[in-house]
Amino acid sequence: MDIYFKSVPVVFLLLSGSLAIAQTKQDSVIKELALKEVQIHTSRKSKHPRTAFYQSSMLSGIDDILAKVEGLSLIKRGPLGMEPVLRGFSGGQVNVVIDGMKIFGACTDKMDPATIYTEPVNLKSIEVRNGGEGMAMGATVGGTLNLKLADAVIDSNVRLSGSMASGYYSAAAAVQNVLAMNYSAKSWAVRVSGVYRKAGDYKDGLGQKIAFSQYEKVNTSVSGKYLFHKNSLIKADFLLDDGWNIGFPALPMDVGYAKARIASLSYELKEQTGFVQEMEAKVYANSVRHAMDDTRRPAVTMHMDMPGESHTLGAFFQFRLKPQGKQVWKLKTDFYYNSVKADMTMYPQGAAAMYMKTWPENHQMVAGLFLEDGIFLNNESRLDLKLRLEMASSKLADQMGQNQFAVLGYDVHQPINRVLKNLNVSYTRFLSPLFTAYLSGGFNERSPTTSERFGFYLFNRMDNHDYVGNPLLKNEQAWNGELNLLFSTKDLSWKLTAFGSLVQHYIIGKTQSELSVMTTGAAGVRAYKNIPSARLFGAESSFNYEFFNRHFVLNNTWKWLHGEDHQHNPLPLISPIKTITSLRFLHRHLFLQAENEISLRQNQVNLDFGEKTTQGYTVFNLRSGYSFVMKRSQLNFSAGIENLFDKAYAEHLDWGSILRPGRNMYGMLTLKF
């Protein structure tokens, strides 16, 4: 009897202990399955085995890194500011945030997706979540891309650390200089980083210069951290990004300037023993100014000024509660206010200037409530429920814009108010120590974007049509589902994914024969409409193998996607099958890496959207690096050749099928201290 009573708490302790261990293990596996987090190394080397695959060199821009992520493609219109596409979802269908902060581009022609305003040097990682998995950061149908900012590191042993890098690219005669520094005291630290990049027109695989593919930009960021005590801290971030003279060879105009100012202040509380175990509160503000420029283009019949701006203010508050039995609750409430506007002034020769609002001032106010319940069913399985409710209000605030829409027959005096519902359920099953299955599905909604609602004769070069907004658009709704299988041992991991989405009220431009074009030479006018449905499905594979005493790392990814509308016509901007393989050899301070990228032909094209069949291609890259380790610092030299065989190629999502850079040799020197 006595023994029995004594053993109960012991057994209980043992059980709860193993439960906790299993739970942590589950958490890490689920993290691997439910999201792709691309670690980025800047001053400190990332220990993640795949970082070198995604970020092939310290010169890699955000777009270079994103291009390697399975399930992610990029719409290319110019050398910078490529638009991310997640499993066929792009634009307003995906939610691109910076450290959880909402930021909206200020360009009516999508020249500035939020990704353009960050640089790898000020990022810690890029988090990719498909479907509604990332709904905590905002209602979305297609997925979430969170660019996590690098923060200052408090380490009293290393007072000053950092890195400096300088590199040169041959194809565009480009230079890049990077600096990142961290200063740490006992309870506070400051991190400063900066990049300067300048590129000329690049040469394609045919040896021809692509006119208007130049760019220049500066990015600086400051991040400070102060530790109140071990588990509570306050953090401030400020990021300044200035780009200018950015060429867009696939568009009739370039970018005169693109400027972003991003600031945030957050308070974090960790490892608390009470009811609230973790807490984060953040307030933020950002401002984006953008202007297109045609003054460098030859034979411009009419000069146009097209500036735009976007300002966002927001806050969120999230916390994790003390586990209640088998359940772990997370709560988040967030709010943001955004105002965007853009206009156009045209200067015809010998006539009065013409003016209109391309984006009449749109004020959006969004408040969201997010709830997550992680239910630890048993040692083999676990269920995660996510729910988000969002109240979204959009109001056209300027009289001229209201009058412009009256011309189109819309009364837009009243705000458009919507409730967005997002729900996701995922189930993880640990089939064996090596196999894990992850099943996830949900219902997601998103609001139409400013262009889709209130865009006024925005010219789309791809299909040569003017686009007008439609204030009566319904929310786009998607039923998303995916199945993941993960096989992992100590040295090998292989993830297979199958996914599908049924999108209702899919938003796409449809020709309006009763409207006449505004842009000279345009083929017609399209208005955004909800078509009954569209389907997207596909598969991905990601393979990672370390062998020969970890001297070799083999990475391989595959992606396949199919998209069609309700009449089985192919959706536009769908990437063909693509596979990327990299083999990396590491020995002491030397590394060698060979990469191969194969893209198949895409003939599932949307002719209406101006798409053409794109030929397949194979591209090889070689990279190498060597480190000289000194007493307190390290000097790295790396060099490589991209597009080794000088292949003339374009990806399917490259607008205007403008050829990509030809053979490109680069060299870079990095000093780490």
Partner: protein, 272 residues
């Protein structure tokens, strides 16, 4: 008690002031108008004043007549009035006259002491060789005889043109004028057209049976605007519609006038 009186006194002043200011606003019908000309209608003992919202230019002009008893200087609010713009030209000693389309006051009762009327001046005329005058025929209430006054006025050329003279296939001469709101804006704008047929030099008759089509365009870009409402006949040769401007700048509004299978085309330009 003294205090109370003071308060009452002050209050009464305030009340009086308020009333006064209200009255002045509502009783000055000519506020914002420009006096163009004046003269005496001899035989009717009436002083006639011509007022306008803007300076007079070629095309349609909204005008106001104010009549005063020349003895008492009191406004005359009831009178039968007829107006006619007359152009006198002296071409090297050869004298010629012609009239222009006009719109008579609709009532013989003044609206707030003013008689609204309108005229479509077909050419500029200042001093010297070509002079416009506004011929007003007045018959005051209770009088049997009409008196005439010729009010001289200056008409400047409107740029761009607001009036066009066009000829039909059978040789009929039409005077078409187009009038926009004073401040055209991006969005939906009222547009009005008047069409008169010249019967003889001194007679212009309103035409009410044209089918009017309207197509705005921006000549610099070659595009138009959607959802315009074609002008339709309202009264007295006037046609009312809605023109849409999608941006500011130079616009040309093309009109097609159709009657009995015959088409006429004209246009009016507008810059804002």
């Amino acid at each position: 008690m003294k205090k109370l009186y003071t308060i009452v006194f002050l209050l009464s002043i305030f009340a009086a002031c308020k009333k006064d200011s209200n009255n002045t606003i509502s009783t000055d019908p000519k506020e914002g108008l420009i006096k163009i000309s004046e003269g005496y209608a001899l035989g009717a003992a009436t002083r006639v004043e011509l007022w306008s919202q803007t300076t007079i230019t070629t095309g349609y002009n909204q005008l106001f007549l104010a009549l005063y008893d020349s003895l008492s200087n009191q406004p005359v609010t009831k009178a039968v009035i007829q107006v006619l713009p007359v152009m006198d030209m002296d071409m090297n000693g050869m004298k010629m006259s012609h009239a222009a389309p006009s719109f008579q006051p609709e009532s013989n009762q003044a609206e707030n002491t003013l008689f609204p009327c309108a005229a479509v001046f077909t050419m500029p005329g200042t001093a010297g060789q070509s002079k416009w005058s506004f011929k007003v025929t007045v018959k005051k209430e209770g009088q049997n005889v009409s008196a005439i006054v010729l009010l001289p006025l200056e008409v400047k050329a409107a740029l761009p043109a607001r009036v066009k003279m066009i000829s039909t296939a059978d040789g009929t001469k039409l005077v078409v004028s187009c009038f926009f709101p004073a401040n055209p804006k991006i969005g939906i704008n009222e547009v009005e057209l008047s069409i008169h047929r010249q019967q003889d030099k001194m007679t212009f008759l309103p035409i009410d049976d044209y089918a009017v089509s309207m197509t705005p365009e921006m000549p610099a870009m070659g595009h138009g605007s959607p959802n315009n409402i074609n002008p339709v006949f309202t009264k007295n040769g006037r046609y009312k519609g809605k023109v849409n401007f999608t941006m500011s700048g130079e616009w040309r509004i093309n009109f097609g006038l159709t009657k009995g299978g015959q088409n006429l085309n004209t246009f009016f330009d507008l810059t804002f």
